[in-house]
């Protein structure tokens, strides 16, 4: 890992700390209020705030996880650094696509 990847991984980790706390609080709130999926979607529909929150969360997760997996591949697999980098980038893209698909479903349905 070089300094550029290190800074990105630490920055996204720092960003995810409040995201995770808010996300857990939302889960607690929704379950305590016995909200259904329809209740939740009715509140998130068209919300720029929730779209921004979970959009940024997905971006941070995709970057953070792919850098971490790249590190694991370079240390634990026989893949050369370049191939490990491509595999990790592919994982990041898949995570981002799945995550943004979910965000779109949350705010546009």
């Amino acid at each position: 890992m070089n300094v550029r990847l290190y800074v990105w991984q630490r920055a996204t980790a720092a960003l995810m700390v409040p995201f995770v706390l808010v996300h857990i609080a939302v889960i607690f709130y929704a379950t305590r209020q016995q909200m259904t999926a329809a209740d939740i979607l009715s509140r998130t529909h068209g919300s720029a705030v929730w779209a921004s929150f979970y959009g940024a969360f997905v971006a941070a997760v995709s970057i953070h996880a792919s850098i971490g997996v790249r590190n694991i591949l370079t240390e634990w697999s026989p893949l050369p650094d370049r191939a490990a980098g491509w595999c990790a980038m592919l994982l990041g893209i898949v995570l981002a696509l799945l995550g943004f698909h979910a965000v779109v479903a949350l705010v546009l349905t």
């Binding site: 890992m1 070089n2 300094v3 550029r4 990847l5 290190y6 800074v7 240390e75 634990w76 650094d81």
Partner: protein, 243 residues
């Protein structure tokens, strides 16, 4: 409970990478060190045994070996401290190629010291006045904390990251770089930060702290590496460092 038997059962690594452990019986002596045991085998049992030592007092850093599974300097390690029911297993240091028996090829270890720019680069000449460094300045205190390294290679052999990533510079080289980063007289810090911030540099460290755990001088290379991480990340964010 102290071991008081008259003889030690000593397994020594013999041969190269494809060698094996061979067992010897060595008389137990008072205040006996592991190096004494190895020396006894070479002088009284098998003169073909190869190993390194020089000063015998913990200054030169040449006698490190793997003793009962842990890297140690053998000249300052008492048998009473490490013998397991009168048994010792002594092998070459991990993470370095075996040349023969207990002698490893230390070249990669010292080459990484060079890659980390572990050489002092003077910013003044001998005709300039002597630099005045306050002993209690934060930079000097940080440098002093790591300056006593004797390059025995124990931390390098104990490091998981070195085992997993052969490009990793290792604790000793990075600790040396940190002492120079904090040396106000040094002029090579831009190049040094670039070297230690690249792939295989300080950011590869997982902070397992095996280096600190095993360092015979109780130094803390993990703390030095953490300092390098902070310093290089700050330089990168300021645009002073290209990655």
């Amino acid at each position: 409970m102290p071991d008081t038997s008259a003889h030690l059962t000593v397994s020594l690594w013999r041969g190269g990478a494809d060698g094996r452990y061979e067992t010897y019986s060595v008389p137990r002596r008072e205040s006996q060190t592991v190096l004494d045991v190895v020396t006894y085998v070479q002088r009284h049992i098998d003169s073909t045994l190869s190993y390194r030592f020089a000063c015998r007092v913990g200054m030169c850093g040449s006698c490190a070996m793997t003793v009962n599974g842990h890297p140690r300097w053998t000249c300052r390690t008492h048998v009473a401290k490490v013998a397991d029911h009168g048994r010792l297993q002594i092998g070459p240091l991990d993470n370095l190629a075996v040349i023969k028996d207990l002698a490893t090829d230390m070249a990669p270890f010292f080459e990484k010291w060079q890659h980390a720019k572990g050489v002092f680069a003077p910013s003044q000449t001998r005709v300039d006045p002597m630099a005045r460094i306050r002993p209690d300045s934060p930079a000097r205190v940080a440098a002093n904390a790591g300056i006593e390294c004797i390059n025995c290679g124990v931390c390098y052999a104990a490091c998981d990251t070195v085992r997993w990533n052969s490009d990793y510079l290792g604790p000793a080289a990075l600790n040396r770089a940190w002492t120079l980063v904090n040396d106000e007289r040094d002029a090579a810090n831009p190049a040094r930060l670039t070297a230690i911030a690249a792939s295989g540099g300080c950011h590869s460290c997982h902070s397992h702290q095996s280096c600190q755990e095993h360092c015979p001088l109780a130094l803390n290379p993990t703390a030095s590496i953490a300092g390098l991480k902070r310093r290089s990340a700050a330089a990168y964010l300021k645009g002073e460092l290209k990655a």
